[in-house]
């Protein structure tokens, strides 16, 4: 009770009420504001956000709060500040686009279709390979986790947050089964991004396909230990998701 690690991060502690707001603390809100502004292109790489005091006054916050927000952006590679030169936006290739928070900022405004494409391409590379490894290395409890996620997906649908969480759990269980930390972290980031696109698809009223059978095929292949079949089934799954997303974005 007292020494137990209750894993209450900042969002699960909240009643999941303001999940989509700026949330967090004051400097977090400022970081969100500036981050979305940068990601949306309002500040281009090379631009200078000059004037610590000016910004602090404009946002009606203290310089400390502004400074801590800049620290966050700096830690994510979005900006760099030097004593006299001011705080300048770094070139895109320095941005840590795989950071879940940065990804969220990227999808806060109008998501760039080129970037979404590249994310799905990456997913199409990583996830089938992960399914292949999972088929070779999965243990009993991995299969149980996948099965549980599948039943949850059946009960809810992808139109609900619970359903999307179950979807993430399914993919997460596969990643866990690969026994690969790097893969796990990477796909956690991608999963967050995919969740955004799924919400996006839902807003566009474009969820035509029933994704359950495809997921079941992946599960069966992994359970059977058939690496090639698992990779292929996951490949199909990702391709369909990409197709849906593309049509949804074009429709809009």
């Amino acid at each position: 009770m007292s020494e137990a690690n209750f894993v209450n991060d900042e969002e699960s502690a909240r009643p999941a009420d303001e999940a989509r707001g700026p949330g967090r603390r004051l400097h977090g809100a400022i970081a969100h504001k500036l981050g979305t502004a940068i990601l949306s292109g309002k500040y281009a790489p090379g631009d200078i956000l000059s004037g610590e005091v000016a910004f602090a006054e404009e946002l009606q916050v203290s310089r400390s709060a502004y400074r801590e927000a800049i620290q966050v952006l700096s830690a994510k590679g979005l900006v760099a500040s030097r004593p006299k030169a001011g705080t300048r936006v770094l070139p895109r290739d320095r941005w840590n686009l795989l950071d879940p928070e940065v990804l969220g900022w990227a999808f806060a405004g109008e998501p760039d279709i080129e970037f979404v494409r590249s994310l799905f391409e990456l997913r199409a590379i990583v996830e089938p390979a992960a399914a292949r490894l999972a088929a070779q290395r999965r243990e009993k409890h991995d299969l149980k986790a996948m099965k549980d996620a599948l039943t949850a997906m059946r009960r809810h649908t992808l139109t609900t947050e619970a359903g999307r969480a179950a979807d993430r759990d399914f993919h997460n269980a596969i990643l866990q089964a690969t026994r690969n930390d790097a893969l796990l972290v990477l796909s956690a980031s991608i999963g967050a991004a995919v969740n955004w696109t799924t919400q996006f698809k839902q807003r566009a009223r474009a969820l035509p396909r029933n994704p359950i059978p495809d997921h079941v095929r992946v599960y069966d292949a992994i359970a059977a230990g058939d690496a090639a079949a698992a990779a292929e089934a996951m490949n199909v799954l990702v391709d369909l998701a990409l197709e849906d997303t593309r049509s949804a974005m074009e429709k809009k």
Copy 2:
């Protein structure tokens, strides 16, 4: 070049010779110290870094500097602090292990061989696929960049920083040719990590193979537009690198 940030510890009048120091500013140095401590396992997930003032006094810095360092770590998902409860180290799966700085911290001490293995496994998944895409989409200037990097690799060797930079440039040129931002960012992170392992191999005096011919094979396949051959050649390249690294770590 552009990274002319030097540490301003006490009054070290070093002629900016120390390129691999903690770097950056005071709070950057603190973040480095705490980051390496966390990554090395000195602070386990769930541990509490209690006492903002205590830490600040122990490190002989002000609370602001300590706070900003915590902001950086928090932005990278290593810790989370809540009002009264203290600053807790988050579970590993929340860490942004693909952040270049975090990767650097992970390799600052004794690198975990399991983690290195998982990184190379990820690399073995991503880089061949990237070579495949590059073979399909490369333009003239991409090939020129690869060729330039190859000649630079020949002139210097991997034992020098310039040679390792050329190696990174080569892989970077391939990633650029994929026209995929997400891939580019990911492999920039991986490339930073691989650079660490290469330095590590060098320290262990284990660079037996001449990597140039293998790189040339990759280049030829991409130049010819042969996707399958490019993927296979890159596969060989990554496998050899993994083998070298493994033997170097076992030797040590």
